[in-house]
Symmetry: D2
Subunit: 360 residues, 4 copies
């Protein structure tokens, strides 16, 4: 099979690093170009990155020269596909420029998530939304396109909601999150702010969770997405954990179901990525844990098989009858925020776009 | 004013240490006796305690000999009043024995909280429940009595709910907690379990929150407590914070209210302890914080004035309209789990009992 | 007694905040002006500071408007004395400008520490070095002057070395430090860098410890300082602690001494600040702890009496015979890096300068 | 090749878990039996272990029944070799019993390290000491034998010292350690003790480092070990790190050497395990890092190639000229305390014993 030449934009940040790590072992993609802000331009990747994952970045990428955000560089290296981990402020216009110039862009930025013709994808949840690409290309007269993914917090939550939504219906979701440091970027949370502490606020996060959920669970109507009809409320917190967002969810379902039924529906969940056997797709996208004190971020964030899909499965535990909600269920959900919630998800989106022939 | 001679049972644990710290500056009480498990018996307090609060325990208590759980010791020292921070397994029978022998017992243990004739007190919330003492003494033919307090998690939450309950009515409360290490006791949470982690389970905690709330907001009916009619659901987590339980609350009220109205009702809240000017009663029992990222455990757990009441006020922040609940409000609540939620509360209970003439 | 009007430069940083906290209770000084970088200029102090100490800054300072680094502001407010917590890059020239204009400057910056006519002070260690002020004023034709203090790490160490140096002589000191996050400033250490980690490097720190120690233990020779003749080597590490630098010291003495003798010499140590009864001077500048596992940063960093001198005493523990060094002693030393090692030390320097009539 | 049937004693503790993890992928060994204390006896391994490494223990071991410490069990399962992670109090007599009954025992316990006829092994450092096995068997009339390894702290340090000792000679070593939580066992360090703190004491550790180093660098003299003639002093601390002991070392060499020369000697170091190509032997036992702030526990603790040898290499960084010691060098050393410092080392010892025909 042909290997696609890819560029990672924003390659030095905490999500950018996950892109580099995950792509280094990927059977379909070769990282040819890394782009980052002016500060790093022209230097070797390993010399500018504060690599936080392990002792050092993968050898082949370590040696690459960091390039500026410039389309001409992509042409020079004959790049097929761009992954974007750019900060939203920069992502907005540069991603448009890329798509206009014919590049498929799999983006982790929030800049275009609200555009009605841009798909916000979790391949297991809304593979049909990929059809928005055609609407987008037509609307904007672009040769390329932008495909995005939801906020890292929304991702884990909606993965766990989807099978419940399909089987029992959902009227209301109340969620409190305990989110990892890496979600804020390498310099996002000063150690003096978080030591012996929890920070009960993440700018813009609650609105994202409340809105994106409706789009993700919505249906493609030929022209756009008809949003799902349920109510969502979120309260978001930062805790002293490196990776892995933990979410405490209370769900009011349309029909009553025992915790065992919910567990079964979650455990059995498979979707298009599993059928297509995509490389980053975990065999079981949702893993139901039995331990009374699980999932836990440090222990469970790397859930997912096979090896390449580690961190791509969502773990669910403590599924209980809720005493206060009608047809209520409460449960804990954990997902790896920079893998399933960011870089891994973008790669899975690109895989799906390839499988669905949006990228050739 | 006469100073009461007091005994602290379970004086070496994490709540026991708070008792010692708070009582050492208290104008009404003198610690005459400290009791603890057999392991410590006969040794000097400072030699057996793993004092986690500061460099060393208060001087006068440091020198006391740790006594066994034996009523004769109390008689010998002419003790007026007993504070109990005993583990529930031990507390049950020993506290009964004490009450039978004529001692007032202000207990932090959960052993008797469900007894229908034992008051579970937050003096600002249900001062009228103290009348249960008379029922209890009559029922059990005791000269002394037991007064308890709710679970540390329930305490902060119900403090914040009370003014809302009175002003707007409450139909439903959904709460997710992020609880401090000290709530589990000094050896409760191994560091290897919590490093880079959150533990989404605390044994028995959710049931306590769900039940005790109804008792606390209930009414004394001459013979017992008529429980309040609202629905409560909780999900409890342990985070890497030394002291201070943070709670994410979603409240469905009976009547609609703007966040500003809720804030005002909370800020203005005063109750019997404030009117009686009890030493441990904070001038403002609830402090509404304006910062968009508050309350935070490390910064706000010591809220409360004057000096003696530090840690006795509950901090509330991020009061927002809830988009998913009818007449919904969401907010963050913080309280010091071993002060307001444990030792400080017991002392305030004793103060109230004295003011109400149940202790002479 | 007259109260001195003071200005704090760099008032929003982690050391600046300690200045504000400590000065707010100080009997001799009133904070009239706070200065900080352009970003904060013109705004209310409480609105720009990330106050990390407690719930909020002291009320009177909270309301002050942050001023730019401009001498005219000082004149306007009739300031008597300037405390500087400026970053070294800025401190160098602005402090000179201030001294030239006649202001006494008590600085925490490293910019002028190596100047041969600028005293680097630990009042308990080298009160005689204050005489350099006269040399400095004469050399530079200044009406004001600059007095500095050593690096925070050097401070704790040299405090503990001084009595040993005087009593037994010291030939060699080998020190490994475990330093607190606050030493790097509020944004200095990203949480992602330090979680589950130690960072074995602090830029420039080891050289400072190795050099400043010799100046501090040196003698004023009428014209400058004759450096002490001993050897010092340091290895500096950042650990996950909010405040309090812990140091593991190995000392080769000139004469042999038992650990008990060393402990006695340390415990009995008093110096000029104690004799002058300066407000920030701890009654016992060095506290020898007996516990086999002390000093510990969280428990012992606030050592020092009376109340105003909390955090000004240095704690020493685990004084042991060293099996590898001649006349060797090993011990652990702890000091509060932003109190004794920074803001508190500057204030004590100012107190000493007043007592010695360098400030009127 | 034949696979050896092995038993792991003390299989549920933090070192025991590493044994299980490492052995599950080992080409020579099959875990047939897991033994642990009475509390766990008769239950499934996965039901009694607080598995702290990842989501769950390896599948084949998870299902094993935990057996009591009973030699008959070993016979029943036809075990070839025993790995011991028993607490020292229990290890002493049970390991003797095993050796007497003919079993080779590779032990991580300290119980027999001081026995003159028991080898304390780091295969890269003192492969010749294995000959003590013959002395031991003869002395004690045993069919089996006990081979031990040094304390986890000593191991990393002596690995790094060995090439320096051989090339330049060593007169004196001064070391301060910053040790990981896992070194104290799963329940060893309460989270309340270590939050925002360092504990400057580890019971018995300094003596072990000071003594074992001399034995390890000593020579087999036909009958026992002639200890090396150098001086060692240690000061040991517990820090908030999950795995990985970091050590700050100051070395007085016999001959002068530049840091570059020391780095070269360390980088080039290979020994018998590398020559024998043992499975757990890292290709490069010592890795010299160039980053000015390395090694760091979280980033570098898993050093070692190939895959099976991850965590078996020792990382060295910051090699500097020492300004205070004659022919002095200072450097930072990191090793994985439960892999190279415990379970991995025992397995490497067993591999060496097999290669040297002490086990058949």
């Amino acid at each position: 099979m042909k290997k696609y030449k890819v560029c990672v934009c924003g390659a030095t940040g905490s999500v950018g690093q996950r892109f580099i790590q995950l792509l280094s072992k990927h059977p379909w993609f070769d990282v040819e170009v890394v782009m980052a802000s002016e500060r790093s331009e022209g230097k070797k990747y390993e010399d500018v990155v504060s690599w936080f994952i392990s002792d050092k970045p993968p050898e082949d990428v370590a040696e690459l020269t960091v390039e500026p955000l410039d389309i001409n560089v992509l042409k020079k290296y004959d790049v097929d596909l761009v992954f974007s981990a750019l900060p939203s402020a920069v992502a907005g216009s540069f991603e448009e420029e890329l798509a206009k110039a014919g590049y498929p862009v799999a983006s982790n930025a929030s800049a275009h998530r609200k555009d009605p013709d841009v798909p916000v994808m979790i391949p297991e949840v809304n593979a049909d939304h990929m059809q928005l690409i055609e609407v987008q290309k037509k609307n904007r007269k672009w040769d390329g396109f932008i495909v995005t993914e939801p906020n890292c917090t929304t991702t884990g939550m909606v993965m766990a909601l989807k099978p419940i939504y399909d089987s029992f219906g959902i009227k209301r979701v109340i969620v409190t999150t305990m989110q990892a440091l890496s979600g804020a970027g390498y310099r996002g949370v000063p150690s003096m702010a978080i030591i012996d502490n929890v920070i009960p606020y993440i700018k813009g996060e609650e609105e994202k969770v409340e809105n994106e959920t409706l789009k993700l669970l919505g249906k493609f109507n030929g022209n756009g997405i008809t949003y799902a009809d349920l109510k969502v409320t979120a309260s978001c917190n930062r805790v002293f954990v490196l990776d892995g967002h933990l979410e405490s969810m209370f769900i009011e379902m349309e029909r009553s179901a025992e915790p065992e039924e919910v567990a079964e529906v979650l455990s059995n969940f498979k979707a298009e990525p599993q059928e297509l056997n995509l490389p980053m797709a975990p065999k079981n996208p949702i893993i139901v844990l039995e331990g009374e004190d699980r999932p836990q971020p440090r222990l469970d964030r790397w859930a997912g098989e096979p090896e390449l899909a580690r961190g791509m499965a969502v773990s669910v535990g403590r599924i209980r009858k809720d005493p206060a909600l009608e047809n209520g269920i409460k449960m804990m959900v954990l997902s790896h925020n920079t893998v399933r919630g960011a870089a891994g998800e973008s790669i899975l989106n690109a895989e799906l776009a390839i499988a669905q022939k949006y990228i050739s």
